[in-house]
Symmetry: C2
Subunit: 802 residues, 2 copies
């Protein structure tokens, strides 16, 4: 934004000085290019032109294109000094035409003209609309920086360069950077001349190099962080142009923080705050083998939805993924979008690629939940199920061809690129000894610090003992969300589930549920065992029933035969279950209210599993927390809680055992937040389902926002994807309200969050601030959440000290 | 609920007294029947049995059924005195078995047993769950009424009866009632003996009749309302058993209030409060000719969704309705459910009947909006489009057969029943002189009072000059919601609309919009004229675009030919526009943000229409209020408002006229309510879209709730349909919050409501209390809203006086 940023102009050039510079430097083309750039920048400011996105036509660009067309050249660099002199004339004419005033020769007039233009821009229409949009008070005003210039391009005793005090790629403590002799800053980044490594400067200009090494130490000591700085040497004299904290990779961030703490440059607390929480992820996800990457051919990109690298043969169906997995082949499941029916295939596949759907689509949610590599919404990829092809531009890949995807960056590659587990993961899964891994030591140090400072507990969203075990290795302190619906897709379960849905009365429904009971009991037994006494929150059946019914003819026919009903019966039931807006339809506790026997079966499975473990040969502590989804009215929870308490009593009486359980609810529709005081009468805990709460609060379907999300990003209406980072002003206000109302009724009510936001650092800070007891996220996000929780606590501490 | 109601038992019967009563009355069967009823009631209380819904099996009913089966009789009345003696034995055995205590012979033991049982019921499990559900404090406790009995069945100088102080059907001031000689209260309502008209009592028992006439006057004078009372004459002595305000028809309510005011029995204010606001409706809707109703054959029922009576031939498609209408035949459009494509047919039809969808389905919304008779969700009716039949039980009706529907009651009749416009409507539309209509005089008096006391303004939801004119006749003071999408379905407009949607770039889209502009301008001109200077709120395009595209092959083919594109192009676009949850998808202001040219065209049409009327030969005052739908973020409104203000300036500059307009927003997603302070920075008015706000706040799709709404009603989870009456605790809290936040930012911001709730008396009271400026409802609801608004103001006044 104009007035908001300082605008840097190299003032002082005019026809006369440029002529002198051209003669002196022996490079007139360069002098005129500097001059035309200066005029353009000056012109942009006084004409009120703002750099916009690429498709916009800046007025000076148009002049430039016009000239190039006349001259028949394509590159800016093809313009000669004479061409540039002509261009400068036209630039000046444009400024005269647009502002009514000529481009001034006098440097002071230039200076005051530019300063005045920046100040005036504070009141232009775009600035006013911008301020209105972001609630920026008009009285803040704007500022202009005025600085003298130095020149690195005045001869061979001049140079310019950029450097880092440590290696930004791996964090190692080495001086890292590059420079050019007789050049200006722009030349280093422009890529026309190849800069030299900073070490060479020790030979070419030993004095300056020595001085730089000293500056490097001074900067780190002063800023107590790795610095990225720019310098210019003008006639042997070293000038520092600017310094700032250097950008770095995740690994570098972790290493620098740990080592600077060892070097006493940072306290533990500062070190914790200095590591972007996301960095931890890069120590955990599988990676492409760096050697193999050198020959990789990128064919497109999508939204990075599940971090890590995956490579395998292309399959288009869940069945193909299963078949290939059985044959021992790695696959990437490529779908237009995924549905619960694809789950088996998603589990079997190495990675998932979809051409439709955002970062909160079914594919993305499931992938993150399972720690699966995933790219979604790769809209330029065309998937043809009929022809079994995947087309990206001119590249056409067939089923069985290799493809590789990087879910951290969203890049898609043709062919096989070898991947490897990260060192940390190999240590955590017992495949590598801790002392053998340098990065594991870094990881363990940071996690130790995090656990020391955080107040928030971190739980995980897990449905299987495998996921639960992984999460515990990552430091999870309980399950915050076990989605029971995933348990109904495997093997014969789905048949009984469908039988239950197709039942025409309660008797039939109970018969089908009776068959599901032992499976559920076994699932919960496994989960309780894996969690070793940590609390386990189990959500009762949530999705609309139609998600369990087959939608293609073949599967319908098979099902009809199995169940001994006509295919029409199934078609008719699918039709009857069809909903306009299933997200707002017959799901969540509404199912349990229509079919209390479902709630009863699930409660029974939970309590029977718990009872047998508590009374087992090797007694295990079990703390089930039963969570009723989509509650909006207290009466809904009263109804469901009554069933759960009754079944609990029946099981405890029958087995002669006391189970320490709780009944609570998801807060995932605004009404639940608004009436949380009433609901807390009955609920022993709240867990915020921020995915659905975001959908309902914003009136925004995450499955459908792809159709207009780009327009919103372009117009800067959503500064962040509200499904990735919690919308504090909207959804956050409701969360805060629910916390306050919940506590008012039930002092000390347990509060958690199990939506996608539970693994997002910015959101975690908010959850810390409103005083939740825990966040719950997918297993691979647990370390990130632990670190974020510690950072939130330390930030709060710092704010209190102020 | 048990403890909550007083439980009335006729205590004091036992084996001995019953034997005496049997001998004395000469009717032993009657005596034993009294006795077994008494034992049953006593048993229910001491056993803690509560009257539940019909499918429950009460224990005494089971005993009764068992005995009847043994004896081979079907009716209770077929049981002899001896049979009843046996039944009594079994009843007593049941009580002994269940409570461990025998049925007591001693009246005092009976009394204390019953009293104790009622008190104990306060702590039973069902009562506890009930209290928890409705937040009733346990310390309230319960009460028991104890009363002496009188007998109207002790001989021919005894009688019992019920009477009204005025005619409850039409409100006329006549003594109205019925009685039976030698009978008890139950006999009058049981229908076994036919009661006599009260006038006959003057001959049979002149003294008692005279006394009753006196009581009648005393009661009215004391209660100042029409009374419904019960009396018993025991050996010539008159006893009054109870009196209460009498239930009455809408017409009676109005007449009684007006006449009691004339008789100085009620003040104007009381009279206003005494008329249930809904009553006004019955003075306005078309009615079945009472003579024709006598031979009507009911074949089913559905949800009453648009009041009034309609009769016509069955049609299953919009085209058939149009065709029949052109041929001058009245039709009832029968659909499984309706969609915007059916709009033309819905306009042409006399009434609408759907087998699916709730009272807030598309059919119901459109019907009420147009004042069309409508029954929806008649789930027992089966409509077969292929066979062109409508089946209700054993009745099969074909297309072309007559059907009649009563949208006030939800009743469906076979065949033609003549209907007629109400008198009031004939007066308001100039077809009848006011002085010729007695009911119009009543209506006008009540409306005059209402306007005197109300503070809320009443606007209407109207899209056409016809609807607007009707609404003004009904007293509307502006348009609160003009839905512009309805304007795009007529004639060639839909083609241009579809062209716009199928456009692949902005240029094509603008070309199509240019063709739509003159139509829109004409629409708005008509509307502004009809509203005669009243404010007109116009909502910009709101529904998802796919609603405008054809979904059947024939229409797609026709469209493809018209537009010169392939049918696949259309299919592909329909596919691309398909959404999982269209309610939460690309609609509302999201359309205007993706396609600013749509907003621009609509704004231009509004301002050009306004300018030409203001500058016209007969200048008309025009106050357009432009409403941006589905705003959730302030930035959305900033974006859209900027376009509107720019176009306004362009039109005003070009035409040299100043237009007094406002830009505001719908508050219809929770985020808008929560951040109303930010939004009010830009919005000059808020209009609550309570339909969508209810959907999003409750996470409840009104189109899909039919699937489980019955379960919710049965379990008493929704005490009211939240789409008919505003959910105060949930949605209401957000409305109140938005009002407060909106006013905090913009003092005196105009606040209105344009959802379905704008015509609902209970909701109107809430809107009055939060201080809205106006409610907006469909034209036929305007009088109801005026009366409700007055009642709300008077109730507030009364509360303040306390």
């Amino acid at each position: 934004m104009p007035g908001m940023m300082d605008t840097i102009l190299n003032l002082g050039l005019n026809d006369k000085t440029v002529k002198g510079l051209a003669a002196k430097s022996g490079n007139p083309r360069f002098a005129y290019d500097c001059y035309r750039r200066f005029i353009q920048m000056y012109g942009d400011v006084v004409m009120g032109v703002q750099p916009r996105h690429e498709t916009d036509h800046e007025p000076f660009d148009e002049v430039m294109s016009g000239l190039k067309k006349e001259l028949g050249v394509t590159e800016d660099n093809d313009l000669t000094a004479e061409n540039l002199e002509e261009l400068i004339k036209r630039y000046k004419a444009l400024i005269k035409e647009r502002t009514g005033a000529s481009f001034p020769e006098d440097p002071y007039t230039q200076l005051w003209g530019a300063v005045g233009a920046v100040f005036n821009s504070w009141q232009n229409e775009r600035a006013i609309i911008y301020r209105q949009k972001y609630s920026i008070p008009a009285e803040w005003g704007t500022a202009v920086n005025v600085q003298a210039m130095v020149f690195g391009n005045m001869g061979d005793d001049c140079a310019t360069g950029v450097a880092f005090t440590r290696d930004p790629a791996n964090g190692e403590k080495v001086f890292y950077g590059e420079y050019l002799i007789n050049a200006q800053g722009e030349d280093v980044v422009a890529g026309v001349r190849t800069p030299k490594e900073i070490a060479l400067l020790a030979e070419e200009m030993p004095e300056s190099h020595k001085e730089l090494e000293k500056v490097r130490r001074t900067l780190e000591k002063h800023f107590r962080d790795m610095q990225d700085f720019e310098f210019t040497i003008e006639n042997k004299k070293l000038y520092m142009l600017q310094t700032r904290n250097g950008k770095r990779t995740g690994l570098a961030a972790v290493r620098i923080a740990v080592e600077m703490n060892r070097e006493k440059l940072m306290t533990e607390q500062t070190a914790v705050l200095k590591i972007p929480a996301e960095s931890i992820d890069s120590l955990l996800v599988p990676e492409f083998d760096p050697r193999a990457m050198k020959s990789a051919k990128a064919i497109g990109h999508g939204l990075p939805a599940g971090p890590g690298a995956a490579s395998g043969v292309i399959v288009f169906t869940a069945n193909a993924a299963l078949r290939e997995a059985k044959a021992g082949r790695k696959t990437v499941l490529c779908r237009v979008e995924t549905s619960p029916e694809d789950l088996k295939g998603m589990i079997a596949a190495e990675g998932i690629l979809t051409s439709r759907g955002g970062v909160s689509s079914h594919a993305a949610l499931v992938a993150r939940q399972m720690g699966k590599v995933c790219i979604c919404g790769a809209s330029a990829i065309h998937i043809d199920y009929e022809k079994r092809t995947l087309t990206a531009g001119k590249t056409v890949l067939k089923e069985g061809d290799y493809i590789s995807i990087n879910g951290t960056t969203g890049e898609i590659f043709e062919g096989l690129i070898e991947t490897m587990d990260s060192e940390v993961k190999r240590v955590l899964s017992g495949k590598l000894k801790p002392e053998k891994s340098d990065t594991y030591q870094l990881f363990a140090t940071v996690m130790g610090w995090a656990d020391k400072y955080r107040r928030l507990r971190v739980r995980t969203n897990a449905d299987t003992p495998e996921m639960a075990t992984q999460a515990v290795a990552y430091g999870a302190e309980g399950i915050g969300l076990c989605r029971t619906e995933h348990m109904f897709f495997e093997g014969e379960r789905i048949d009984y589930m469908r039988q239950m849905i197709l039942a025409t009365d309660e008797v039939e429904r109970r018969a089908a549920l009776k068959k599901l009971l032992p499976f559920q009991r076994k699932d919960f037994t496994g989960l309780f065992k894996a969690m070793k006494g940590f609390p386990v929150t189990i959500r009762l059946l949530d999705p609309p029933l139609h998600e369990f019914l087959p939608h293609d003819d073949t599967t319908r026919r098979e099902l009809a035969e199995k169940l001994g009903v006509t295919q029409e019966t199934i078609v008719e039931r699918v039709r009857a279950l069809h909903e306009q807006n299933p997200m707002l339809g017959h799901r969540g506790c509404r199912l349990g209210i229509s079919y209390p026997e479902i709630t009863e079966m699930q409660a029974r499975a939970i309590f029977e599993a718990a009872a047998s473990l508590i009374k087992g040969k090797n007694p295990i502590d079990v703390k089930p927390e039963i969570m009723v989804p989509l509650v909006g009215m207290k009466a809904e929870l009263v109804d469901q809680a009554a069933i759960i308490h009754r079944v609990a009593k029946e099981v405890m009486d029958a087995k002669g055992v006391k189970i320490d359980y709780q009944v609570g609810t998801m807060i995932e529709v605004p009404r639940a937040a608004v009436t949380a005081d009433e609901i807390a009468d009955v609920a022993e805990f709240f867990s915020f389902g921020t995915n659905d709460l975001t959908q309902t609060t914003l009136g925004l379907s995450r499955d459908d926002m792809g159709g207009f999300f780009d327009d919103y990003k372009e117009k800067d209406i959503y500064s962040q994807n509200p499904f990735a980072t919690l919308d504090r002003a909207g959804v956050g206000t409701l969360v805060r309200m629910a916390c306050e109302k919940g506590r008012a009724t039930r002092n000390g009510i347990k509060l958690g969050i199990c939506g996608e936001h539970g693994g997002d650092p910015l959101s975690i800070e908010f959850f810390h601030n409103v005083g939740l007891n825990y966040v719950s996220c997918s297993p691979p996000r647990v370390p990130v959440a632990r670190l974020s929780a510690a950072q939130s606590a330390l930030k709060e501490l710092a704010a209190l000290k102020k």
